[in-house]
Every structure is written in C-alpha cells, then in structure tokens.
Subunit: 250 residues, 2 copies
C-alpha cells in the first residue's frame, strides 16, 4: 500500500516504514522495532517536539561532550537505521567524538550492516567492529566493546534504552548521557544526564549546541552539575499536561 501524504499521521508512517524496511534487511532486529514503538508512544505523549527541559539537557550534554577527554557515542541497529546522518553531523561538529558499534544482538552480519550505514552517512573511524574489550556486569553482547572506545571513554552517549548497560557503564565511573523518550525507563533513571527527546531531533540539536559552547568555558575533565531529577520530573509533567489537553480537546 502506498502512504498518502494526507493521512493524519503521514510523517510518523514514513519513519515507521523506513524502520520496517531496515528490519527486512536485518539491520534492525524485531526487538528493535518493539523498542521503537515504545518510543513512538512517548514521543506522541511529549507532543512530538523537543521540550524546553530537553533543550536544557541537550545544552548541558554539549558542555560535557566538549569537556570530555574521550567522548564516545554508542550506535545500535535502530540508531544506524534512524539517525546515521545525524551521527555523522555530530561527529563533524565534535571531531574527537568516537562512534562505536555496540549491539545487544550482535552478529558479524549486523555489525557489517551498521558499519555500512554509518560509513555511507559519512561517519569516520567507526569503532567496535572487532570489539576486543569487555566490560563487566553485563550478560548481553553489549559487554563487547572497543579498547580504544567505550572501554576507555569518560563520557558515553547511549541513545535508545538499555537500563542494564547504563548501570554497568556508570559503575565503571563513566558519565552516561542517555537519549530516551521514556522518562520512566531504567535508562533515563540511571543516566547521569538523561535527554528525554526523540533521537534525530536531539542529535541534530546537539550538533549545533556543541559548537556554541564558548571555548573559554571548556576545561577538560571538569563537568558542570546537571539536575537529572528535575529533568525527569519536567518530562513527566509535560506528558501529564498533554494528556489533559487532548482529553479536553475532544
């Protein structure tokens, strides 16, 4: 069936179709589609826009990334399918950013598909392809990391949810910036700096904000405090407000 641009949910149907196609090639796994659906629901509840409190979180994340000695962005199948070009743009804005393939369901084929999607979009020096390192405390393939990447990173950006991993990274002393639309998820609750926003919007914004940080204010290894609880509370309040609005509009 062809999608009609006049359908009330056209834009979201287009993204959905793109992800479904990525599932047919194997880039995205079934569990990834389910996770995407969960995210869609929360994005809808948040009004499908970057909230003011998410903008604050993105600005704080930009400062952390600039202050990091070794920042790494973790990429899974969904991130590669949805946001490869935004990842490339962020890397151009912050040339020191490591981009690492890190998969919950890891197979050589999927590593190759993620790598190809990233390289086609212009990402350089993709890490994690061989993944000779290992982090402790994780039962999944997520534990397999790059010795020049996540293993030695001081700041990790983990887009899309995986609560176990966020906890494992923090227990290794790394600062975790999550990007997850669910403000109640374990990821959002475990992260040092939770960005509650849709992936492509927040990466695009992050690329802009990273360049706006005044160089004079950047001190390597010094990270400004971030009020994570307030960020989550505000996301939850936005959802509650929107529920009331939609209920009234009928």
């Amino acid at each position: 069936m062809r999608l009609s641009p006049r359908h009330p949910r056209y834009q979201s149907l287009v993204v959905r179709a793109r992800l479904a196609d990525a599932a047919r090639t194997g880039l995205v796994v079934p569990e990834g589609l389910i996770a995407f659906g969960r995210a869609e629901a929360f994005d809808y509840l948040l009004g499908e826009r970057t909230t003011p409190s998410a903008v604050d979180a993105i600005r704080a994340a930009a400062r952390w990334l600039r202050a990091a000695r070794h920042p790494v962005l973790s990429v899974n199948g969904n991130v590669a399918a949805l946001a490869a070009s935004q990842v490339a743009r962020l890397q151009r804005s912050l040339p020191g950013l490591g981009v690492e393939v890190n998969l919950f369901h890891r197979t050589p084929l999927r590593v190759k598909l993620v790598l190809r999607a990233l390289e086609r979009a212009g990402v350089e020096n993709v890490l994690g392809v061989r993944a000779s390192g290992r982090i402790t405390g994780l039962p999944s393939d997520r534990a397999r990391v790059d010795r020049a990447g996540i293993l030695v990173a001081d700041v990790c950006v983990v887009p899309l949810e995986d609560g176990d991993r966020t906890r494992a990274l923090r227990s290794l002393g790394k600062r975790v910036i999550s990007i997850d639309l669910n403000p109640l998820s374990r990821t959002s609750r475990e992260a040092d700096l939770p960005i509650v926003d849709e992936l492509t919007r927040s990466l695009r914004r992050l690329a802009v904000e990273v360049q706006r940080v005044p160089t004079g204010q950047v001190r390597r290894g010094r990270f400004a405090r971030f009020d994570r609880k307030r960020a989550l509370r505000e996301a939850q309040a936005t959802i509650a407000r929107r529920l009331r609005q939609v209920a009234r509009a009928r």
Copy 2:
C-alpha cells in the same frame, strides 16, 4: 541470550520474545511489532493491570456481545500471536461469536499462518479466509471481509489499533468495541465502546463477563448506553496519576 527470571522486566521480556519469534515466521509483520511497542508503553503507564474503568467497559462489552444478533471478533497477526487461546476461550463462552481473519498486510501465507494459530488454539469456523466481501472507505486490505462475518455483523470487536477501520465500520452502522491500550488513539476515540486494556487480560475477563450477564436482561438488538468519553477520561487520569507516583517514588 537466555532471559533471566530475575530480570525486573522478565514477564514483559517473555511476551516480547514470543512476538519477535512470530515475526520471524511471518505471522507478525514489522509494523505489528512497532504497534506492540506502542501498546507496551501505554500498558506500563496504566500500571499493567485492568483498571476499574476498563472493567466497566468490559462488562458493557459483554452485554453488547450477548445482545448482538451477529457479533464478530476481528483477528490480525498480532492478535493471533499474542492471544489465540484467549480468543478460543471467548468463543467457547459465546458460541455465536464469529472469529474473522482481517489483515492490514494481507498475503495468502499470512492468512494461513493466522488460521493455523487460531485453529491450534481451538477456535472453530474461522471466517475471512477467502474474504469475498468488501467494505467501502478503506484503502488497505482491511477492506476485504467475509460476507458471513464482518460484512453482516452488527457488533464488531476490533482488538489493536486501526483508526481508519474503526471509522469505516461505524459509518456502515456497526457498533465497534475496540481493545486498545492507547486512550488517545484514533481507534479509542472513534469506537462506540473503547476498552483501554491489554489484549490478553481483557479477552480473558470478557470471556468470564459474557457468561455473567443475566439471560433475562438480554434483548437481541437492544444495546445499553455506554459513556465512552468518560471511559477515555478515566484512562487518561490513571496515566497522569501513575506518572506522578513514579516521579515521587524516585
């Protein structure tokens, strides 16, 4: 990876894995997995239990089904993968209930897979396998219906979302009972009787309630009024309450 029963989300991971398996056979389509994810998010927000207001809706639905001259339950890939045995049980409780295969993404293979899942669970006289009828106003394969089923039904149960279909069925004068966890979805807002609850829980409960309706109170073709707006408002209020609770608990 094996799932650990000690994982905080074990039950939901088991259901998720079952659906992912069904996607590998082709019973469930990628879009079905995404829809399942959306539902998961709303179930989580509703507290993963049947709310008092959903119980009211299920009881009203039970009375409508008993009063119907020709009640039909529509089954797609997700329903067959998740709830075939609950469908069979409802049919045993209400022997006049037609069960019809109705697919958004219809192929002969998928029809066969749905049919097999239903028959294995004990559903009898499955309708919609040939689907020689057609309802107007629907651009998708959903339009293809059974002349002895949805085409002539007076009450249709449509589990899982499809806003366009709900509207098309209503415009043909049919009463639509939806089962959809999203109280803001077009399905929930278009249905005559929206049940905002998880599929297996609500079907199980419906099978019980159908038998509890006093026969003396049943009059064919007479349907008690149902306050649909109130049902949706209450579901929205439950979500807002739960958001506040979770926010406080941290």
